[in-house]
Symmetry: C2
Subunit: 152 residues, 2 copies
DNA sequence: CTAACTGCAAACGTTTTGCAACTTT
DNA sequence: AAAGTTGCAAAACGTTTGCAGTTAG
């Protein structure tokens, strides 16, 4: 097993999905592999492109692209499902798109407003103190800290 | 001057805009007034509706609606300009829309994922500690803390 | 075999853009 | 009068949905 680029066999991924109550279809395995292998934050569009490497610009006449593997709808549905089942985390930092983060351990983010790049902040030392009690009838879903940066 | 509902005269608003290097047009004054008077977080669509109270559902045949006052494009452009000039703050908490917050003092937010409601967290006691140094060549734009809640 | 999933294309809601007409200064 | 601003409509973007056909258990 390499240092930074983890290797996941299909068997591993199937087991992981099952553990999260997700029926492992081939599309879901593809998407999960992309997310797990690269330790980066990816948008749905990013994943769509990675999973369908050769999809040409819309050519509606063609009955079926031979290497088309996962439709846009499935990418979105699958990512939503993964988030709901706790396999990945949605990061709301860019006003235009959702990022999906395979790192589910509590941690925070730098968001570069110039480039749109998102990077992890090592969770260890960071702490938010002094939060008031939650409003009546609500439970905590999570605390997101986004440190916005500008290129100088 | 009332407690919670501040009164701003057009003269006040003109001065405020000028202080922020924004040329005070009548549309900008309208939008600024909406934002300042209500101390809430509003989306562009919210503001569009407030500023154009009687806009009927699309009736393209009609040459001009007599009470139409601010176009959608102008609302978006103006809010972007206000944010850029530091008159309001963009809040990225809802994955679908940007909220504009007239409160420019440092503070944080509760975001109710069930209802989409955004509420201020009194800034006083809240503090984020242990943040790592910023990456090379970047400066701090702001630190946003969003506490996500779920209705129980 | 059945329930669940997928693909497609069309619909959606938010935000942006191009350009002619109009206000501000 | 010049520069900047506005309105409109259309387009662009990310995302969701409806439904017929397919696949996993």
């Amino acid at each position: 097993m390499l240092m930074n680029e983890l290797k996941y066999s299909d068997v591993d991924i199937r087991a992981l999905l099952k553990r999260h109550d997700i029926k492992p279809t081939s599309q879901r395995i593809d998407i999960a592999r992309v997310l797990l292998q690269r330790q980066t934050h990816l948008s749905a569009e990013d994943i769509y492109k990675i999973v369908n490497p050769d999809k040409p610009g819309a050519s509606p006449g063609r009955p079926r692209s031979p290497k088309q593997r996962v439709s846009k709808a499935t990418v979105y549905n699958t990512l939503g499902l993964f988030a709901e089942k706790g396999l990945v985390r949605e990061v709301i930092a860019d006003p235009n798109k959702i990022f999906y983060d395979p790192n589910t351990a509590p941690h925070h983010h730098f968001y570069d407003v110039t480039t749109g790049a998102l990077t992890d902040i090592d969770a260890g030392a960071v702490e938010v103190i002094g939060l008031p009690p939650l409003p009546e009838g609500t439970s905590l879903e999570g605390v997101d800290v986004v440190v916005r940066l500008r290129q100088t």
